[in-house]
């Protein structure tokens, strides 16, 4: 099972119209080289799942600015004015999801659960069109699982089997989106032999990772 591929080989799997989940929070923890490769290849009409649309110059913000995004499912767009402009102009669809609900919807897809029962959003526009359940006297929204075709991770240290370690605050959405996509691609900042990451330090077990791209290429 050779998982290591060139960025070009990895990009062969990426097609117009796909749903792609990206790690990263304001761009920190987003695999920039994979984002750049999407731009270079000319892939468009993407649905992206990410915490936020970052800034215009980094992370998935670049995909928005270059008009590759048909729809984004995110919790926050305030740091990228172009997202707001395209949203208000009707050029791009934006589904805003509370951050805790967003990560939990992704997790529930990865964990084989039927959805999330959360108190967040009760009494707000977030509850529109959703089933409400009263459990033990309290109201919860049923939020549905959210899965991607492809997940793109930034791994600080990756071994050749696909085990991933994320440095500091780059972890954020990365380990969760890794569980909820048909194809998982990790951009390795540092690539090491199997066994070099202490098994207790692994944050995404190799079983979730399909393709490893060397980020120093």
């Amino acid at each position: 099972m050779k998982k290591i591929k060139t960025i070009d080989e990895a990009m062969e799997y990426i097609k117009d119209g796909m749903t792609i989940a990206f790690g990263g929070f304001m761009g920190v923890g987003t695999p920039e080289k994979l984002v750049d490769a999407i731009l270079a290849k000319g892939v468009k009409d993407l649905t992206i799942i990410c915490n936020d649309t970052a800034f215009p110059h980094n992370g998935v913000g670049k995909l928005v600015v270059n008009k590759r995004v048909k729809k984004c499912i995110v919790s926050h767009v305030g740091t990228n004015p172009e997202t707001g402009r395209q949203m208000n102009a009707g050029e791009m669809e934006v589904e805003l999801v509370p951050q805790g609900t967003l990560i939990e919807r992704i997790r529930s897809a990865g964990a084989g659960l039927g959805g999330v029962l959360t108190p967040t959003g009760i009494g707000t526009v977030v509850e529109e069109g959703k089933q409400k359940l009263n459990i033990q006297g309290k109201d919860y929204l049923l939020e549905l699982p959210l899965k991607a075709d492809v997940a793109m991770l930034q791994g600080s240290i990756v071994d050749k089997k696909g085990n991933v370690y994320y440095s500091k605050a780059t972890r954020n959405f990365n380990p969760i989106i890794a569980t909820a996509a048909d194809l998982v691609i990790v951009q390795a900042e540092k690539l090491v032999e199997a066994g070099e990451i202490d098994p207790s330090d692994v944050m995404t077990p190799s079983v979730f990772v399909n393709i490893i791209v060397d980020g120093r290429e």
């Binding site: 929070f25 509370p98 805790g100 967040t120 707000t124 969760i176």
Partner: protein
């Protein structure tokens, strides 16, 4: 009534800081709430949480010493204190929504006398998104709104919010440059007035019904 912009801000964040107790886990929202960290009382050891995945936010890094792998929830370079811990976003919101956060401090566009909060969008104008705010106010044990009392002369403390809500009945306390308000089952109770500020001035700047506490105090700022 305090007029100076800088002084208003100082009054608010100093007073908010007095709410933080030793051992508290606290989330400070982006913007003015962040400044609260500069006024934490001597001997009070608190832990600051960052939505993107850690507890133990330290002071901003010196120029040139930024770590690209540590930013706060606003995307700005940050540091961590000894005893900090990093984790993923699902753990971050387990902490937030699960009732493990003692205090969340955030701004508001509008607050009303039922404790409803609106702070994430102005339809057709500004739609930054709710980020973690909806989870924070639903999950934290105590929700403190820190903001200027009015916006361009318009009241922000209302009988009923008109903007889309962030959450229903969640606000515990409102701290402005004019007063401290506790949200009680009987309504909004003003417990402290800012220096040089009168009940009449507060009432005039507020659309909501206010109750003034019998033992009304002056904010110690």
């Amino acid at each position: 009534m305090i007029q100076d912009k800088e002084r208003k801000r100082e009054v608010i964040v100093k007073r908010v800081a007095q709410e933080l107790k030793d051992g508290n886990l606290v989330n400070l929202g982006i913007g003015m709430p962040t400044l609260v960290a500069n006024y934490i009382p001597e001997g009070v050891d608190i832990l600051l949480q960052s939505e993107n995945g850690y507890v133990g936010i330290g002071p901003g890094p010196e120029a040139g010493k930024e770590d690209k792998d540590i930013v706060n929830a606003g995307g700005q370079p940050s540091t961590v204190v000894p005893g900090a811990a990093f984790f993923d976003s699902s753990m971050s919101f387990t902490i937030i929504r699960g009732g493990h956060l003692d205090i969340t401090v955030l701004g508001a566009l509008q607050v009303d006398q039922l404790g409803n909060l609106a702070n994430w969008m102005v339809p057709g104008k500004m739609v930054p998104g709710m980020g973690g705010a909806m989870d924070l106010v639903v999950g934290a044990k105590k929700v403190i709104i820190s903001m200027e009392h009015t916006a361009k002369g318009e009241a922000k403390i209302l009988k009923k919010c008109t903007l889309p809500l962030t959450a229903v009945g969640v606000v515990d306390m409102i701290i402005t440059e004019m007063c401290v308000i506790e949200v009680t089952k009987d309504g909004l109770l003003v417990t402290e007035l800012a220096p040089e500020t009168t009940k009449e001035e507060v009432s005039a700047a507020t659309e909501a019904d206010l109750i003034f506490a019998e033992d009304l105090k002056v904010m110690n700022v």
